[in-house]
């Protein structure tokens, strides 16, 4: 740069000739950059007041303001009423419809509660004489299946969406072709409880005579039915009058947990565990290998492996025949049973217990019952029938309410023949009629591979499963709430199913699909096809039978309104066939382990594996969620060298399964029990690969029962699989926590004998009233309180599920449960005491105690939780900032914190879609992340009852409000109401001799009273 200014004569670049010549004008320009006078016009005062900087500032500010003004911030959206309001819908008021559940073969009557056309809650139908207004946890949670985001929505052929018309045409031509070529048309279904469905199947068989119907269920009662057929000549076995039994001996029978008729059984059983009305207690003996829910309730528990049950029963019969020569056993049979001796069982069970059992059964002849479980062999059932007959216990059989069988389950021979026909291409069309045989049938049958040889495989199902994945046509069917139907599962009771919602997707009633194919024309289908068919069948059978005054239409409507029609059924007289039991024998247990496969508690055979609420329910005994496991005893675990979560390999013949161990106190030694129904591979995201598929261990060639296998080898497999349990594993071996529930009086129990001798034993010797340091509030007027009778609680978890559904409790998943973050507002605690071999199991439902001196209320920094004048501990979600101090202070740890936004933790969260969000109860806030929640005593129901009382001009009474848990409990263990009303059941229970509060010494004054459990043993102390 300096070069250019140095010398003007040494120019290298010039712009003009003047420049070259160093013209003076050019030099003047170069000297002054600005000519004179150029800036004279510049007058700052004359400039615009708006500088560049100011302009930009104003521009951005106005843009920002405009952006805010773009929306009217006061806009409150729109309010859109109906165009033509349907007469039966009052927005904001719930409607109730009666129907019948199809979660299992019990066909309980249900009442579906709908809001604005959406079903949001299911409860039992009080008019139904069998379940009397109660249903199980599966029924409560079944509502989530309607809103399952992975439900099938459109018919599919070869994995592509097609129209129903084309599918119908294809299948009709395939059926005609199979008929013409002499090929079989096979329909594989589950248990058929609907008479009208049976009629459709019969009509189908009439139209296509090559049709054969096969019926198979993973969990079935076939052994019992075969035994009844042989011993009493009928497959329709009776119900048991549990409420009239003084002594009950249950042999591997989970009749209160998950076996046939358990909802009704629970109610009847607990009629004899009353402490208020002072009826006499029954006594429950349970002889089982695994620790079942029923075993946990036993007064006396005997560890007898299922492979030994036959010997056990025969030994009992032998013992009785020795003691009482008047028993009607012929000499031949007597000689044969002589070899069965009870002495074998003295060591493992204990002579004292056996003596008590024999004595009790002897004294209570005709007023006791011996009951064998569904999974035991036909021979055991026959022996048990003999024993009951000899003891006169047949008086407790209720044949009027027998368990009907509309369609016999297929035998092994029939199923093997089907597979053979399939392999030889003799089956033209195979229809999976809401069934999943690829998963449920034992592998050695070869069903899955034989399916490939069938030309047309059709699946009529709600959601994809293993069987539909191997088929050609996958046709979606209506959910229960969209379906017509009926059920005749028990004698004298006919219940109806009606749809409460029009099919949400392009699904069809499965019977209507069959009817279309019977008609042979795709255009024969209309939405009311099965409705009319059902109505006609109803008129022809039930209406004519009832001989009512009303006309057919009115009778039909009233039947739909009630949901159930009862009629007198001639109970057949049966006589015991002694000849059937003369030659009973089974293969005895040999060396090696015994494997027991049994039903799970909450996910059913295959319908509910994708239901998050049910998968997250803790097992009633082990409290494990989201998994199944191999339950073994502590000594067996020691000898194998395994602990909890270790993997073991269970080998039956040439079949093996690797799964984690759970050390189960009370299990028999050298014995493994595994639940069926897990390990699904073709299912929605929730249920996929949850648990381990124990069906792989089942075989068509079993010794006595398809569920019990001997000569099983169990070896340690190495590796671990973490089981998420909601309860401590170490309650019996960790000395710090051992029996802590007894020393801290969380569980207080007694025996019936002690209670009879001194009714006030529980409160005797109590110290004086606890002093508080604050001025106590007085509660005049209504004060809500709850009482839970621990004599009646069977830990069935219907209350937990009902609470989940009513209060929009989210599903958190296995890893969060492992962190202790399950969100259930009420939980069932299970405590062990005694020894690991003979534990005593105590259950306790634990929920927010709504303490008068609540420790959680004092510590909330933002006052989000406080007390109402009617005794409720309130939780205000919009005020909560998530300090979690309240949960820290709660001695019962019943407060649940939303660690994540469980609804849409991620943008593609499973339950955040416009279908599943319809399951929510509109009266309860859906909580977001960072908010504490807990049981509210169903405050939405309390406020609704209060509003109705004001509308009707009445006073609100305690009995007007029924909480969700109280409504669901099948044994009415939960009482709720006004504790300031001395006549209410709650007040009476509060003042009962057996009442106590948990952690009373903390002086938090809880409002949930527990009634101590009485065990009916022959002593005054709990052993």
């Amino acid at each position: 740069m300096s070069d250019f200014s140095k010398s003007s004569d040494k120019k290298e670049l010039w712009k003009s000739l003047n420049d070259y010549n160093n013209d003076s004008e050019v030099l003047k320009f170069k000297h002054d950059e600005f000519l004179e006078g150029v800036t004279e016009d510049f007058d700052p005062s004359k400039l615009s007041g708006l500088s560049r900087r100011k302009f930009l500032a104003l521009l951005s500010a106005s843009a920002a303001l405009t952006a805010t003004a773009c929306t009217d911030y006061r806009d409150k959206g729109e309010i859109v009423p109906y165009n033509k309001r349907p007469e039966e819908v009052f927005p904001g008021v719930a409607n109730y419809y009666a129907s019948t559940c199809n979660g299992c073969r019990e066909a309980c009557g249900i009442l579906i509660k709908t809001r604005e056309g959406r079903p949001i809650k299911v409860d039992g139908n009080p008019e139904h004489p069998i379940n009397k207004g109660k249903i199980c946890a599966k029924g409560q949670a079944s509502i989530l299946n309607l809103y399952d985001p992975e439900r099938l929505r459109e018919p599919m052929a070869a994995r592509k969406h097609v129209s129903w018309k084309s599918v119908d045409e294809d299948i009709i031509s395939a059926l005609n072709e199979a008929q013409k070529n002499g090929q079989e048309i096979a329909i594989v279904t589950g248990v058929v409880t609907s008479p009208t469905t049976k009629k459709v199947l019969d009509d189908f068989t009439k139209k296509y005579p090559n049709t054969k119907i096969y019926s198979y269920a993973l969990i079935n009662d076939q052994q019992r039915r075969s035994a009844w057929l042989e011993t009493y000549g009928t497959i329709e076995y009776p119900a048991v009058k549990w409420n009239e039994a003084n002594i009950i001996l249950a042999l591997d029978a989970d009749f209160l947990g998950n076996e046939t008729g358990f909802v009704e059984n629970m109610r009847k059983f607990t009629e004899r565990r009353e402490v208020v009305k002072k009826t006499d207690f029954n006594r429950l003996y349970v002889a089982e290998g695994r620790m079942s829910a029923t075993g946990a309730l036993a007064d006396y528990r005997l560890r007898v492996s299922p492979a030994m049950q036959f010997e056990f029963v025969m030994a009992l019969i032998n013992e009785f025949s020795k003691r009482d020569s008047a028993l009607p056993i012929d000499a031949d049979t007597k000689a044969k049973i002589r070899r069965y001796s009870l002495a074998k069982f003295y060591n493992q069970v204990g002579k004292e217990k056996l003596d008590y059992l024999l004595n009790d059964l002897n004294i209570n002849r005709g007023k006791s019952i011996v009951y064998a479980g569904d999974t035991l062999s036909k021979e055991v059932h026959a022996a048990v029938n003999l024993l009951n007959e000899l003891l006169g216990n047949a008086a407790l059989y209720d044949f009027a309410s027998s368990y009907k069988s509309l369609l016999n389950l297929s035998t092994h021979k029939e199923l093997s023949q089907l597979v053979d026909k399939m392999k030889n291409e003799k089956v033209g069309v195979l229809i999976h009629f809401d069934s999943n045989p690829v998963y449920t049938l034992p592998e050695d049958l070869g069903y899955a591979s034989a399916l490939k040889k069938v030309k047309t495989v059709v699946a009529l199902i709600e959601a994809e499963n293993e069987s539909s994945a191997l088929g050609n046509y996958t046709l979606p069917i209506n959910h229960l709430f969209e379906s017509w139907g009926d059920a005749y599962a028990r004698g004298g009771v006919y219940s109806l199913q009606q749809p409460v919602i029009s099919p949400i997707f392009n699904t069809r009633q499965k019977e209507a699909a069959l009817l279309t194919w019977i008609a042979g024309d795709a255009n024969a289908f209309n939405q009311e096809l099965y409705h009319n068919y059902l109505m006609n069948n109803f008129n022809a059978t039930i209406y004519t039978k009832k001989n009512s005054f009303a006309d057919a239409k009115s009778f039909w409507y009233s039947a739909l309104h009630d949901g159930v029609v009862t009629f007198d059924e001639k109970s057949q007289t049966t006589k015991f066939n002694f000849a059937a039991v003369t030659n009973l024998q089974t293969k005895g247990a040999t060396n090696g382990f015994v494997l027991h496969l049994h039903n799970n508690y909450y996910i059913g055979e295959e319908k509910f594996a994708n239901n998050g609420w049910l998968q997250e329910l803790p097992h009633p005994v082990s409290k494990v969620t989201w998994d199944n496991y191999a339950a073994i005893s502590q000594s067996t675990a020691k000898s194998l060298g395994v602990e909890n979560d270790d993997l073991i390999e269970v080998k039956v013949g040439n079949k093996k399964l690797t799964l984690p161990v759970l050390v189960q106190p009370g299990a028999a030694d050298n014995f493994v029990s595994i639940e069926l129904g897990y390990g699904r591979k073709v299912i929605g995201e929730v249920g996929k690969e949850v648990g381990f598929n124990a069906v792989l261990l089942m075989s068509m060639n079993y010794d006595s029962s398809p569920y019990v296998y001997s000569n099983v080898s169990v070896t340690k497999a190495g590796g671990k699989h973490k089981l998420a349990s909601t309860q401590e594993h170490h309650s019996l071996d960790d000395t710090f926590v051992k029996d802590i529930h007894r020393t801290r009086k969380i569980i207080q129990e007694g025996t019936v004998e002690r209670f009879i001798k001194e009714p006030d034993f529980l409160h005797k010797g109590e110290e004086e009233k606890l002093l508080g340091i604050t001025r106590e509030h007085t509660y005049t007027g209504l004060k809500w309180a709850m009482a839970i009778d621990l004599n009646k609680c069977t830990s069935c978890a219907a209350c937990v599920t009902a609470c989940n559904v009513e209060n929009n409790v989210p599903v958190v998943g296995k890893d969060q449960v492992a962190n202790g973050r399950e969100m259930q507002w009420v939980r069932l605690d299970r405590y062990y005491s005694g020894t690991p071999e003979e534990p005593i199991v105590s259950h306790q439902p634990m929920l927010c105690q709504h303490c008068d001196n609540a420790p959680c209320e004092n510590v909330c920094p933002v006052n989000a939780t406080n007390h109402s004048q009617d005794g409720l501990n309130q939780m205000v979600y919009n005020r909560c900032v998530g300090t979690r101090y309240c949960s820290n202070n709660c001695p019962y740890k019943v407060r649940r914190f939303n660690f994540f936004n469980f609804r849409d933790h991620f943008a593609d969260a499973y339950y955040e879609n416009n279908l599943t969000s319809l399951v929510n109860n509109p009266e309860v806030t859906v909580r977001s992340r960072g908010v504490m929640e807990k049981c509210t005593f169903c405050v939405q129901k309390i406020m609704e009852a209060r509003s109705n009382a004001i509308r009707d001009g009445k006073e609100l009474k305690g009995s007007d409000v029924v909480t969700a848990c109280q409504q669901a409990c099948p044994t009415t263990a939960i009482a709720f109401g006004d504790s300031n009303d001395p006549g209410s059941p709650v007040a009476k229970l509060r003042n009962h001799d057996l009442s106590y509060h948990v952690l009373e010494e903390l002086n938090v004054k809880p409002n949930v009273t527990y009634i101590a459990k009485l065990r009916n043993t022959h002593s005054e102390e709990i052993q």
């Binding site: 409607n95 056309g117 919602i501 309104h561």
Partner: protein, 58 residues
């Protein structure tokens, strides 16, 4: 004199990041609310025309 030193430079970057993080909350919330969920096909719920309900007093 635009000889910014390292401390001031990173300080400025930090302040800018902080501002951007806080300010981005507004458009972020606008764009990701549940109302903007992409699946616009609404489920049609209709009461079944032939359902017979229990009478309830209203």
């Amino acid at each position: 004199m635009n000889n910014i030193n390292r401390k001031k430079f990173f300080g400025l970057i930090g302040k800018g990041t902080l501002f951007a993080a806080i300010a981005s909350a507004v458009p972020f919330k606008m764009f990701s609310s549940a109302a903007n969920a992409s699946d616009k096909k609404n489920i049609k719920i209709a009461i079944h025309p032939f359902a017979v309900k229990r009478n309830n007093k209203v």
